[in-house]
Amino acid sequence: MTAPAAGPVDAEDATQDALTEADAEQADVQAEEEETDAWKTREGAAPASIVACPNGPLLVRGDFEIVTPDGVPVPRDRETVALCRCGGSAIKPYCDGTHKLMKFDTARRRPVPAPARKAAEEA
């Protein structure tokens, strides 16, 4: 995914403002592109923002593109999309609700295996 927005994204609208509760779950898109201010020249285009939905997908709004590694646009039929992050969707990169059946839990962290932790500490 590339986002033609430049710099940190301001949570400008009420929707985003009210999300402060979910701060830990929310990430702003910071993306670089040569044409840094391209989105500003487009009428009504808001910079991209991502809501990390607890136990669910990444909800992406605003001005962004989803492309394959070769830069080919991934078919996209709506303004706001939900990107699967549980791995279970049958329509990747989009979410199809399967995370609910998988009981996908974003609060659960997999414990780091001891050898890896040791290596990290020694590094």
Partner: protein, 361 residues
Amino acid sequence: MKIPAPRGPVSATLIDLLRNRGGTGHANAYGSLNLLLDEALAATADLLRDEDLQLTLFCLYELHYSGLDGVEDAAEWDPELIRVRARLETAFEDVLRRAVPVPELPAPESEAVAETLFRLAADDDGPSVSRFVASKASVEQLREFLILRSVYQLKEADPHSWAIPRLPVGRAKAALIEIQADEYGGGRVERMHSKLFGTTMEGLGLDSGYGYYIDQVPALTLASSNAMSLFGLNRRLRGAIAGHLAAFEMTSSIPNSFYARGFRRHGFSDDVTYYFDEHVEADAVHEQIAARDLAGGLAEAEPDLLADIIFGAATVLAIDALLGEEQLNAWQAGESALLPLVNDGGPAAPAVTAAAGGVTS
């Protein structure tokens, strides 16, 4: 839409009155309509499955949507008809309030509301029409499935649009608009969900005209549509319509993938299944917005509405469970889930049925 065939004395009197509004003696007609309504409300064993009364309410609501063929548009605000509607609504809401099980209320905070709604939807273990459609339904049953759903799906999103001017400026309203814009195709007619549903119906040789099959649709399906109109058309119930939409979206993406599978199993093309495929993706987006921003955002803005938000959501699940049970019982017994047609095109038995095992009592 076309004027439906009456299903009992109340709907017969209403339909007569609608056809002849302004004619002589219609003051008497209002009088007898009210009297018959009194009697019917006192006598009904199960308002949710009362063919006569649910059809009456459906017709009264229809005046606020696309209207009834041959009935003056002004009938929409006929004070006498509004009074009849309000009396029916009171009884209907009363039944829903008593019958719908509501979970313990969360704190009026977005994430807590979303969590409660997601849990409510996940705990829903009602009879699964979607699994039946995916693996067993015959083509004829798929047609019945579409006919039953067409009551709402051919005006998809409309009942929830009533809520737009009723929500305060802020997160909840922005969320509702975002969802509705997508429902209506994001500015592209060919992507309107109601339009896509019509295409699916036509793919199975059905007529996609709004209300075409109304005479074959049983009371409980009308009640499910009437509940949306009740919540949407009454400002005081704006919490319930927000919760209703949230639960609707939250119980949609997975069943729709099952529906698509059922239609593919019979070899129907992608054009036919597109409506369901589209909903898998769209509603996975909508459910996140509806739970946190619409329902949760409204609870934060107007904490007094919290109980109604949860009630509206629980209503979807309760009515869906009853509908599922009714449909599956019919299909598993090798019967039709539709009302039989009689020669004149009206339903065979304008009877008030009180099926066993209902939630109302």
